[in-house]
Symmetry: C2
Subunit: 331 residues, 2 copies
Amino acid sequence: MKKLINSPETVVTQALAGVAAAHPSLHVDIENKVITRAGGPKNGKVGLVSGGGSGHEPLHGGFVGYGMLDAACPGEVFTSPVPDQMLVATKAVDGGAGVLHVVKNYTGDVLNFQMAAELAGDEGIEVVPVVINDDVAVVDSLYTAGRRGTGATVFVEKVAGALAEEGADLAAVAAVAREVNDRSRSFGVALSSCVVPAAGKPTFELGDSEVELGIGIHGEPGRTRAAHTSAQELAAVALDAISDDMPIDGTDLLVMVNGMGGTPLIELYLMFNEVQKYLEGHGARVARNLVGNYITSLEMQGFSVTVCRLTDTLTRLWDAPVDTPALRWGR
Amino acid sequence: MKKLINSPETVVTQALAGVAAAHPSLHVDIENKVITRAGGPKNGKVGLVSGGGSGHEPLHGGFVGYGMLDAACPGEVFTSPVPDQMLVATKAVDGGAGVLHVVKNYTGDVLNFQMAAELAGDEGIEVVPVVINDDVAVVDSLYTAGRRGTGATVFVEKVAGALAEEGADLAAVAAVAREVNDRSRSFGVALSSCVVPAAGKPTFELGDSEVELGIGIHGEPGRTRAAHTSAQELAAVALDAISDDMPIDGTDLLVMVNGMGGTPLIELYLMFNEVQKYLEGHGARVARNLVGNYITSLEMQGFSVTVCRLTDTLTRLWDAPVDTPALRWGR
């Protein structure tokens, strides 16, 4: 295993120290592993908290800032954060208008966020959770009852964050978060495995000309192994799976072509070209897009595609100013 | 070889089609392989053109936009663009105030940009080239007479682009570009090789516990092979090499910890923490930073660090608004 680390045990805290050093706009509580906006909560604004295992950067810490999250709590690599950590984050962002928990649908995350919400409730903070489950690849995967939560998390955090910034109440922010999740679908493909630092070896083995179709963001198995093929055919596999589950024609779409961490940007742009051609060929319009590494799986090579059926309101909230380390525009 | 491509021959043009589809703020001439800002040249503004082999994305196309480059000309992967292509770019951005060519010091790039400058001169466009040669690892490397140009290119394009946006003349823009290059140094480390699509196999072989110290951005040999070690020791190797060449103490620094394309962001933040600790321990102050993938080598795992000794003027120009696909702030 070759990684830029000092020891597997210190990866997360030392990376957090780097985040703290790099971004004066963030406050990083390294002991509790909580990233918040510098300056504390805004009175009367709904707070947005997300979190999950580390190893998916920039998710979630890179999305803390104006117009998006108020706090992120990173767990150990591919391991849920703990309820106490989520409670610290929830209390840190409470501005008196309640707190939204954006939870990717993995059993540990769901249970721990539920416990944190109860603890926060005991302290008088109203919490509403929204569970993200956009990955059409499999149901009841490793670590998951139901579908996995993946790329739509980025869309939910952006759109719900924009609405919260406008001063909407907790019910409205939660409703738009659920709406984005309901209107979004994802599918991922792996060309190589990731290596969890504590394990020190690949999570799974793939042959020299094999790919895993429907890969999870922790290297969980997808639908099937297949022979590696062209970018065009891989785009079709991903988008066939998505459009079998949700109609995409006649709609303005927000589309993300996301790298898994080890794929060069030139390949992601090439994939986006294939994704765009497929979608336009199937009667959709790609109205907004993201191309890059937004929800990763350590050094895994591969991509995922996430599609959201936009409405005028969702488009307006997507376009609203955002100022975070990983997403920044309009401000 | 597993890549997200259709065929090695079409990688660059199909990726450019993806760039065109993703970024309405850019105009992409796929036939000539030239990326410019949509809307054409600005009258009276010095134009900035850069270019080089593809495979280093987001460099250079991702830096085209307000406050940075006016055009980029990508060659085939790790291959210089041709003079005609550079001429098309130069003519496309000429607003009557002359054009700066930002040239990384590789023999092919230098010769081709020189020829393009002569051709542009024949058409009445004044061109000044600035050659970037910040990599302290080796002199007279493969493809290079003198030092290689690497990470400082990002700094030069940002700072000179900001000055051009303010309306400075060609001599002043060229002077600040040279100043940034003179005040910048870089050093890179590879944990794995890249794979050029047309070659289909790793450019070099590294053992399971070996690293290449002083790697070039095309996989060119560095100073030496060594046993893989901690992030802290790798930071010291890179920064010892840099500080042996240029004093860093008592100065405000702009520091980039750059990923080579296949390294996860969590490791880059961890490296930045080590870089920051080293620099502050050696009497410097990290006043500004970039952490992420900015000048890559396809899917290579590894990092480079680039350090620039700031002045008040350089800091102001670094902080000035920029609006490109890969760098965006303040606007």
